[in-house]
Symmetry: none
Subunit: 232 residues, 2 copies
DNA sequence: TAATAAAGTTAGACTAATCTAACAAATAAA
DNA sequence: TTTATTTGTTAGATTAGTCTAACTTTATTA
């Protein structure tokens, strides 16, 4: 199915809203606002997208992407992020310049192009902003945003990934008695150098700021399945 | 001045027609045909482009690009050919696939992008089809005037570019065992229909007049670096 | 629960790019 | 030089995407 740039942008906006807010419920107004058009305009487009079975939507109801609509939206995000990576890595664009150009490039229609670009960039999993790049099947690595250094004194969190994959770091982690899925409580933090005392399995350890910044964690709410914006 | 893709395509078409035919006189019908629209459509657009001072044009008269129109057209051709070069050199697209994708990429709006791409490709002077790439001031290396059909029986020449960029033609060229920079010897020519027997890498092929007219060549003298007036 | 506010929809209009069909001008041919 | 043919123009319609203004439904709150 050949879609116009505009239609593609509506699908992308829908995916982004549900992604970022964790909410699956999108209304006409919110959609319109995110595309900087009037609600009436979005409403018209929704009818069209429903006709094409790209969204599920009943009058006065909430909007959801259909399976195929979601696939298309993921595909556009894939293209967007691959182009950003290209601009950043190969053409030496700066971090903050890539988005605008990628907004245009994401609409270029050629599967071959994007697969070749993917290969050329060595199948990157994250774009320059750290956002995950969907693969050609629309699957993406979840990525974590919060590190142990972001957790407030007194709060608990769960380790989910490491940022630094070096073996020396991994060995250090083990020594502290830490591992994926372990619960960590932040006991105290030295203001001067951010040395942090943590508690893992009832054992206290002190770790450096560098250490804390290389441990991805989920906050207390996310541990309970809430998917907050700051963590994921 | 921000132009639509469509407007850009009209300017490009005008430049291409005058370029390829050597004629400076373009009419509504020819322009429309080259864009695969009806003359009425082209006529409407011409009024718009005249309004913007991108073409010089009076009712029932001939169409010419203005200075600024020409600059914009050259800019689009620059983008087109740089993208073709990128696709061919970096992404390993084949000769005959690049055009279609570049038709889309040429409309991406970012001066920075195209200058960085130019640098990344090491400021190429010719695209994969042998066509010259305008620099950022719209200047380009002379392009070729002589085609295979101009070469006398018994003489040799070197293929340097193609006039027709259609994939069907390019694939035909490949089938004949021909490519950019190949030496061609004209063995014989049928007087009646100009069917020409050529020799490429010791292999003989017979090609039509239409074929021969779409292969740009350099004559024997020019191959040796002489730069004769007829070829360049 | 009735009034008010917020959210969503509809109708009618506009612009850009296209079309068809009818017409006008310029050019070529008899 | 009149006629026929080609070339170019105009008028009116269509589609996609947008708008404003008026209206309806749903949600909130006093």
């Amino acid at each position: 199915m050949l879609l116009s740039y505009t239609e593609e942008n509506y699908l992308k906006a829908l995916l982004k809203i549900t992604f970022n807010s964790g909410i699956n419920e999108v209304g006409t107004n919110k959609l319109a606002a995110s595309l900087v058009v009037k609600p009436a305009t979005a409403n018209d487009m929704l009818k069209k997208l429903k006709e094409k079975e790209l969204v599920k939507y009943e009058k006065y109801g909430k909007i959801k992407l259909s399976k195929s609509g979601q696939k298309i939206a993921l595909d556009i995000i894939r293209k967007h992020r691959l182009w950003e990576t290209f601009l950043y890595q190969k053409l030496e664009f700066s971090w903050d310049e890539v988005h605008e150009v990628a907004e245009q490039l994401e609409h270029i229609k050629s599967e071959k192009l994007i697969d070749k670009l993917d290969k050329y960039l060595n199948f990157p999993e994250f774009d320059p902003h750290g956002d995950p790049i969907p693969n050609r099947n629309g699957e993406l690595k979840v990525h974590y945003k919060k590190t142990l250094s972001d957790i407030a004194v007194g709060s608990s969190c769960k380790m989910v990934a490491v940022k630094d994959n070096s073996s020396s770091f991994l060995q250090y982690i083990i020594k502290v008695g830490l591992g994926i899925n372990n619960q960590i409580k932040v006991i105290s933090k030295q203001e001067y150098d951010s040395i942090t005392i943590i508690e893992v399995n009832d054992i206290l350890s002190s770790v450096s700021l560098k250490f804390a910044e290389n441990i991805y964690v989920l906050c207390g709410d996310c541990i309970e399945g809430k998917k907050c914006f700051e963590c994921q």
